[in-house]
């Protein structure tokens, strides 16, 4: 699944530019201008396939119309650009907070 959303496997369908991402996100008010400024380096040239968005939705069991896929693809791209910042981090020695119980931790 992650390969399908990754940059190297997105060759089908129209290329979505960063400008389009920003316009769509602004239209929906999903993300603000401050966040646009923090889009990950390289986001401007990355590509996202509408076909990929459609396939991921299908795998998740959700039906999206062609029009909705077209609307959503740039937003997915924008969110991934922000979240991909986490991938810069080496947290291999860190246990995730899967069970969140602060009372069991020493302070």
């Amino acid at each position: 699944m992650d390969q399908e959303v990754g940059k190297n496997n997105l060759t089908e369908g129209p290329v979505v530019s960063r400008r389009a991402v920003l316009q769509i996100l602004a239209t929906f008010g999903v993300l603000g201008g401050g966040m646009f400024l923090t889009l990950a380096p390289g986001a401007e040239t990355a590509e996202l396939s509408q076909e990929t968005v459609k396939r991921v939705a299908e795998l998740a069991g959700v039906e999206l119309t062609e029009a909705r896929v077209k609307e959503l693809a740039p937003a997915v791209k924008g969110i991934h650009a922000e979240i991909s910042k986490l991938r810069e981090l080496d947290l291999s020695d860190i246990d995730p907070v899967t069970i969140f119980s602060l009372e069991k931790e020493k302070w």
Binding site: L31, G34, H80, E105
Partner: protein, 462 residues
Amino acid sequence: MAELYSYTVGQLAELIRRKQVSPVEVTKSVLDRIDQLDGRIKSYVTVSRDEAMESAQEAEKAIMAGKYLGPLHGIPISLKDNVLTKGILTTYGSKVLSDFVPTYDATIVERFKQAGAVILGKTNPHEFAWGVFSPPTKNPWDLEGDPGGSSGGSGAAVAADLAIASIGTDTGGSIRIPASLCGIVGLKQTYGRVSKFGVMAHSYSLDHAGPMTKNVEDAALLLQAIAGWDPKDPSTANVPVPNYSRALTGKIRGIRLGIPKEHFYADLDPEVQQAVEKAINVLQRLGASVEEFSMPHLKYGLAAILAVELTSSTTYHARYMKRINEYQPDVRTLVELGLFMLATDYLKAEQLRRVLINEAREAFKRVDVMITPTEPITAWKTGQATIKIGAKEVSVLDASWRNTFPYNLTGLPAISVPCGFSKAGLPIGLQIAGKPFDEETILRVAHAYEVNTDWHLKKPSL
């Protein structure tokens, strides 16, 4: 004598205990105020008038019979419309739930009822406590202004004296943001301190339900009633609940105030910066010292909260996916976006939360509380997308939760108290955060600040 609707919980509790004021009089006063003003403020989805008057009459009878239950007995409070109330419409601000009437009470509602509180009704949230577009609620300080969210109805209701106190929920700042923008007190206690059983989910490990009040004393009183382990909610902690009111000594000599080096003080409205600096000076004059601390990984915080919030919110919404066309466009987009989160990114975000908790733990070796502005800006106009801070144009959405979401990621307790007004007359909030389950210290510092200033006494002209 001022109108009863304008009193605090603490003031009314004393009058009710002495039988100088009846819960029926208080409830009627607030309901009349709602009739008079809420057509303009639009803070309520549902006003449960008959149930409220019935509860008030029962409280009056009990008190006259010598069965006084404590400081919430006979006090009219409202609840955000994502808190389940048996027999009272609970919409979560959505058309999808426009006719949903729960068959049981949330644990916090049960506890309020056990304490004798009167449930006034349900306040307007953002749809499903998500999204960008505000509900119709107006900010009482500027009727063209946004009250913030997602507990904007509760914030506006308390600020406009349409409830003596209220309960909001907070996943990225939704109690503290409207508290700051509406000039009231908002407390998000430690994750696990208060039961979420019967509080409709938004993002399981980030959600909190907590008090929104006219002053710090009232926040302590409400927290006292709802805090504590709940066998129905596995996320609650079996940690003893102290007497919060006893922490309100007014004394903070020797308290170490932590000022963060990163994140919280960037891109502040100059009027906010000035108000917060003055507030810190007040605390220093009361005997607190100031120490800087660092949480360098907060620069990844936005990515982490998006990964966690989008993923878990979409998981919750799976049950309504077939009706997603009925959602507001912004909420629908956010819910659909959650489908595209990678499990590996989600877990990386949970790893980052551990890093942030570790950094906070290190900071708390040197400081007792963290002091920041609650909001970098004051209330924006309804529908306004960006705002200028100096020469920089920033998104109001981005700014609005920047200083609040770190305490959802870390689960630490944080309170917002009024600390000034802009030249345009809009409230400014001071955020005080503390160690896990140490609500006493943040309440103590907030209360000491409050009793040495008068920002919390100011009321909007309505």
